[in-house]
Symmetry: D2
Subunit: 266 residues, 4 copies
């Protein structure tokens, strides 16, 4: 029943300047709202649909930019890891390291990340049930790390579609770990465009409100100053100038549902 | 942006006394909450898993009980229709007549119901997409009736499971018709018990909150004084003594989200 | 391990002449192939997407045409029933009466059909699991009829798509009842066209071969002299002039797999 | 229309002796049947459900054993690659290198594998549509490799279940690349056991026959001398002593369907 935490930022680090601009907007808005905040962005998009798609600045430059954001704004940062050797250097900068959904069952990666001691944000794969998250949790725990976060981002629903099962949050909460909701990626329509995924960003507020009303530890969100020209997942990104309106509504819902008396229905 | 309306009652009319007891509880609670209310119950469960399952008092006695509830409590009533010939007599008592999900594409039934002039609650079949509701809508309109309500109750998700696609509400709202959420039936696990569906009533509050947070015209709910001994769909029913706590939380969320300024995200 | 039986015909009775033409083609082809044959067509399409879609000649004229086909060609006939009162008159003409998928859980219809004593072809609803067919079977048996056939026609797979689970045939065969495969309707793409379902008839041979190779009691097939101008489900219909090539391939596969020694793998 | 090729072997290299025993059985059986054959086994299971599950002998020893099988029996070998650095050493031994389903979108891995010049067996992820395979194909081609094989292994169907869409084979065949069917992994029930996936090996013959009847370039199969005691995926493995019966039936079907005249249905 702590207030909603935000893992918020932009999909991929497009440039140092844009990252600073985006971080500044988040810091200001979450500061005004009193919302705990962690800056998120990726240094590498390792599984784009096309080999020609923009991937990011790479590990070295990416960590440099993340470190700058961290020190300039005094916020923790989260970024994702794709191969075991990356875990250690990334964890030297990032406060939370993220296990990607497609890779969440790769034992070597899980163990390498767990051994850093950093908090780990586990994205729930689109192809596993909420109760199966216990296997990934146990891998982390047995590798000595129980600073874990579980993060829903939609389940495969037929071809080229994802659906968020609102009952899955409760299933995951039973593990005792904090449960987050990546509303941005849950908006994806996989394979929906000629060269990339499509998205449903016009519905971001509806979907986020639904998730937050269930009662969650946190929200994962990607925004962009100009979504139509974003280098990755623009169709899912919130326009940055809508950030405050969007978050303040969610904060209101979160405050309300966390104040509700438990109903005790068995 | 009218306040949330409740179609609330019990699954099947088990007895006149119990129906009166249930209706009274709803009337009192919704009265205190200032929530527009319509009493719901079925006179016949026409598609039980087993031939031995309780079906209800039948049309004649069922309508009698519904009429009594209507006059005694001064509330409108809603009940479901299964065959074309039932539409007319049912509409003489019921203010809203309900088109069952499995039957929602049966043209003769749709037309017979439309011709009564009563408001129609169209349950979305588990096997059609939100945007396909336009076909059923058009059938009603062409039969001269545009007093329509669309009601989500979950989509088939693999075997023996339903999932509620929170993005589907927005899709259905584009039709211009009011959209309701039958949270009770969305909790079903089809084929989950030896002789009937199972359910997840412990999660009714989470799922209802998610739906209401999207912004809906109304909620459809079934409660029971003793869910474990209910004659149908007990595993999905809210215990009647939790009704006020449950509804007051949803009303708070509904009031809040309907007060939000639109975010205009394209 | 009896040879493959064919329930074959056309979707809806478009005219007496066309029905005779289609029946004649089937009778000749199945005669040459030595394939047990039952003529199939519908007198009413009761759940078209649009109220303006062609529904058929109706019960009276439809049964007249079916009776003519039956006597002229000396073949049994199968047709579908939509309301309880239709069961008796239909069973006076039809040798096999068909329970539609959407209606397969309507107790009154099931019982009325069972009480005729006719063989019943139960279409598996798109929204239930293979093992749940036992509920519908039990309803028929308890109403005194165990002349039952189970017929797969695809399961809901996300929105606007059906998938045939080849493992479901084995599940249904465990009931002891003959299992058929409606390859035509399994090709549907529900909601795929502005006013009706779309289909994938170019893949009819691939899908039928897959099903028959599993080892089935029978196949359900719809053909049309001019599929692009068929009044219903043309996108799924086999061109009538491909019938012999299509069926002779399936017969070869069926003969082969039914000659295989059992493998006994537990 | 070449005859069916077999990628056959055992899930993971449990020991040198067992690998030789299994390879010998396959070589003898496929020799008698005149079936082109490639030995398959994994040196590392990189995504087991539990950290305590057996993973294999590792890259070095695994490649040694594969090289021994290759030279002793004169057969090509296939094995899977999990990280980019493994591609080169593996391709020095393996004739076909396999891209795992969960990793099939990891650009660095795809490119590293493509650059070896070896043939690549691309497992279709459970979470993408058949037509989306074109993205992975294009990545390989643009990295200079067009010796590609596409391999179906089931699609996510709700929670804890996979389904094989027989229409997906035709979709993938349109790419012009050979299409294989991994019948073993398609039998998995993900998350079905306390510590691992469950499986449906009793249905392996039914499912394989269905796929082969569609008309495929090849089959992927795992067998084991004692499936109940296999160290990985035993619930899906064919008992090794059923291999000849199983394959001879599939060869008969393959020969038959590849001899069919095309039906030309548009």
């Amino acid at each position: 029943s702590l207030p909603l935490t935000l893992f918020g930022g932009m999909n991929v680090l497009e440039s140092r300047e844009m990252a600073l601009e985006v971080a500044e907007a988040y810091v200001e808005v979450t500061g005004r709202l009193g919302m705990p905040y962690v800056f998120k962005s990726s240094f590498d998009k390792a599984n784009r649909s096309s080999i020609h798609s923009y991937r990011g600045p790479g590990l070295e430059k990416g960590l440099e930019w993340l470190a700058e954001i961290k020190s300039r704004f005094g916020v923790p940062v989260i970024t994702d890891v794709h191969e075991p050797w990356q875990a250690k250097p990334v964890a030297e900068v990032a406060d939370v390291i993220q296990l990607p959904a497609f890779l969440a069952r790769q034992t070597d990666l899980v163990v390498a990340m767990a051994e850093t001691g950093a908090a780990i944000n586990i994205k729930k794969p689109q192809f596993i049930a909420p109760h199966e998250m216990r296997h990934i949790i146990r891998k982390c725990e047995e590798a000595g790390n129980s600073r874990l976060i579980l993060c829903e981002r939609g389940s495969s629903f037929g071809y080229n579609n994802l659906v968020v099962d609102m009952l899955g949050f409760g299933e995951m909460k039973k593990t005792g770990y904090p449960v987050f909701f990546d509303v941005t990626h849950a908006l994806q329509q996989p394979g929906g465009r000629a060269d990339s995924a499509d998205g449903r960003r016009a519905q971001v507020a509806e979907l986020a409100r639904a998730g937050v009303a269930v009662g969650l530890a946190g929200l994962f969100l990607e925004a962009h100053p100009d979504p139509d020209n974003a280098k990755c997942d623009g169709p899912c990104a919130l326009p940055l100038n809508r950030l405050e309106g969007f978050l303040s509504q969610l904060k209101s819902i979160d405050d309300m549902v966390k104040g509700f008396a438990p109903l005790e229905i068995d």
